[in-house]
């Protein structure tokens, strides 16, 4: 009996190895549950569409191993360790929130596994790291775009900036916005909150006493939705400006009519794709999901393609070679634009500004670097 068991387990082991040899494993570290779960869901849709269109590389199938970081910083580091040590992935797509990418990126860097973040815009994510890359623009640019838009398009002169103190994304983006907005001659007041807060009435009461022309809330959609509702209840009718963290269907579902008049800077708008790959992506997405793709879906799509392209050019699954190839990405045509990754692992691309109008994310304008 025992011998049979041993033989059986060896056979199973060999078979797993044989099957595994036929695939290239790519880890996906996203928040699939918790506060910002909608981000994980949207980005994964994009990744999956890219996988359906281009399922293999170097003659092998690409296998995605999805790990959920539960919208939690500690767990964000844990899932990266797990993907590398237990699943033995060749590279990782992830994570989404900048604070998660900072936590997970430290592990990937240490273990020399390339990690490509679809949407972490904080500059610190790739700074001083050789194995961490991103498919999106960075916050000094996004803050600049928001400041230009607030000053020129919204004609705002006084802004109140709401910063989520536990999100590196929000802290960074707030500072970049303030620097540019003040340089243009605007006046800034500040308020603070924390991810997971649900009551903003005290901060809003204080903020509205300054009679601002715009509220700038570079945070994530759950808090923006609740804050917009409470701001409207306190009588604020002006515009609310946010960053790319605002875009999720839940913003509108939870915010209701209060989020009409929320503007946000983003990477992509399905009605104005920059490239022909973008058009193909929108068509494919709409045929599968019967809805318009979000910016995050487009970034997920691009991340997969960038990584696949890097593996192809490296002609190897050696992590160091993939990282080297990613660093040499030049003018790659993605859904969100032509992507060139610089030596710091960052991407330079145009930004769009969208507005929530009658419960829809509507294109307003494009601002170039």
């Amino acid at each position: 009996m025992r011998k049979v068991l041993i033989v059986l387990s060896i056979a199973v082991l060999l078979m797993t190895v044989a099957i595994a040899a036929g695939t290239i494993k790519i880890g996906v570290a996203f928040p699939m549950t918790g506060n910002i779960a909608a981000f994980g869901e949207m980005t994964l849709q994009g990744v999956k569409i890219a996988q359906t269109l281009y399922p293999d590389v170097l003659g092998k199938k690409i296998e995605l191993v999805v790990a959920d970081n539960r919208s939690d910083k500690t767990e964000a580091a844990n899932v990266v360790s797990r993907l590398i040590d237990y699943n033995h992935v060749a590279a990782i797509i992830g994570e989404i929130a900048s604070s998660h990418s900072l936590a997970g990126g430290a592990i990937a860097e240490q273990k020399h596994i390339p990690m490509l973040s679809p949407a972490s815009t904080n500059p610190l994510v790739t700074q001083g790291k050789h194995y961490i890359f991103r498919a999106c623009f960075i916050d000094p640019f996004q803050g600049h775009v928001a400041a230009v838009f607030a000053y020129k398009n919204l004609k705002a002169r006084t802004a109140v900036v709401f910063t989520d103190v536990v999100q590196d994304y929000s802290v960074g983006l707030s500072n970049f916005f303030i620097k540019d907005f003040v340089a243009k001659g605007g006046k800034v007041f500040r308020e603070f909150y924390q991810s997971g807060d649900q009551d903003f009435s005290a901060q809003l009461t204080d903020a509205l006493a300054k009679s601002p022309d715009v509220l700038y809330v570079p945070g994530y959609y759950p808090e923006i939705a609740l804050m917009a509702r409470q701001a409207r209840q306190l009588g604020y009718t002006g515009p609310i400006l946010a960053g790319d963290g605002a875009e999720a269907p839940q913003l509108i579902k939870i915010g209701g009519s209060a989020v009409n008049g929320v503007y946000y800077t983003s990477h992509f708008n399905a009605s104005h794709p920059f490239t022909s790959v973008g058009k193909q992506f929108v068509a494919k997405y709409e045929s599968i999901y019967k809805a318009s793709p979000s910016a995050l879906a487009a970034l997920g799509f691009d991340s997969y393609l960038l990584l696949r392209d890097a593996i192809k050019r490296a002609n190897s699954v050696d992590p160091a070679k993939i990282a080297e190839a990613l660093r040499n990405t030049k003018n790659f045509e993605g859904a969100t634009g032509y992507i060139t990754i610089d030596k710091y692992g960052n991407t330079i691309k145009s930004a769009v500004v969208n507005e929530v109008k009658n419960g829809k994310f509507t294109y307003v304008t494009t601002i170039n670097p």
Binding site: T33, D164, E191, Q194, D199, T205, A209, Q233
Partner: protein
């Protein structure tokens, strides 16, 4: 800070405090009778909101009926939790039930993630009337504020009546002192404890639904922070005391809002203040504001 801002802050504080108070009342009731800190209280709250949410959206029930069904569902859940997790441990050391309560809390959260999904859902299922704003001078008050205050006070009065004027209440208070003797007096201890859990869970669901009306999203971890804050409120007020929970809840809500109002730069750390207040208070008054008579077992 101007006077109108201060008044607005006080109104906001009352609204938040009312929500904390309602959750804290349920907490304190279970503790007062069983000496068990039911850490799953916040998660039963979450489950109650989900029940209401699904009954209203899936069975197209009117909102008030959905709320009632959600509250009753949470009561049934509380009954089952007590039956499965706490009853077998009734004679075990107190720390065992405490750890079981924490385990139950995690279990319910994970169960909700699996069954309902981890993505926050919108809870816009109540009449627009509640979100109407009354404007008095420069102050804006949501109609919901009065509703929450009314429900909180009503439930507290009902609870005090139940505890001090009915036979069941006498039995509940007797159990809190000595279980074997109460059972010798002819009270059915198991049934009374079940009832305590049912009422506590229904209170949790009621407060959860109010919470979701004010902050209209439902997600599996929504009960955690309110539960923790309400626990602090209950301890500040003197855990085991129903009026204490009410006072503690209002105090905590008010202090949280006023700290943000007076020191806007510290707003990101307002949770920390709740804990600092608790520590300072426990240093000077270890049994909270309303001291509950507790018997020394010899």
């Amino acid at each position: 800070m101007s006077a109108s801002n201060l008044i607005q802050d006080l109104i906001n504080g009352i609204l938040l405090g009312g929500l904390y108070a309602l959750i804290a009342v349920g907490y304190t009731m279970v503790y007062g009778i069983l000496r068990l800190i039911n850490f799953a209280h916040g998660d039963i709250l979450m489950m109650g909101v989900y029940f209401a949410f699904y009954f209203i959206s899936a069975f197209t029930m009117p909102w008030w009926l959905g709320f009632i069904v959600g509250i009753v569902g949470a009561g049934a859940l509380g009954f089952m939790v007590e039956r499965v997790a706490y009853r077998p441990l009734r004679n075990a050391p107190r720390i065992s039930s405490l750890i079981t309560a924490i385990g139950m809390s995690f279990f319910l959260e994970s169960l909700a993630v699996v069954v309902f999904g981890g993505i926050p859902k919108s809870f816009n299922l109540y009449p627009k009337f509640f979100s109407r704003i009354l404007i008095i001078g420069h102050t804006r008050i949501q109609v919901l504020t009065f509703f929450i205050l009314g429900v909180t006070l009503l439930l507290m009065l009902a609870l005090v009546w139940l505890l001090y004027k009915t036979k069941i209440g006498i039995a509940m208070r007797a159990i809190s002192v000595d279980i074997p003797t109460t059972s010798l007096m002819g009270a059915n201890v198991d049934n009374i404890i079940s009832l305590t859990f049912i009422i506590g869970s229904m209170l949790a669901a009621t407060s959860g639904i109010m919470w979701a009306m004010r902050y209209p999203q439902v997600q599996p971890y929504m009960g955690f922070v309110p539960g923790l804050k309400a626990f602090i409120a209950a301890v500040i007020g003197g855990i085991g005391s129903v009026p204490g929970a009410l006072v503690g809840g209002f105090l905590l809500g008010m202090v949280e809002i006023l700290i943000v109002g007076l020191f806007p730069n510290l707003a990101g750390y307002r949770d920390a203040f709740a804990y600092v207040i608790l520590i300072v208070l426990l240093m000077f008054r270890p049994s909270g504001i309303f001291k509950v008579y507790s018997e020394q077992k010899v």
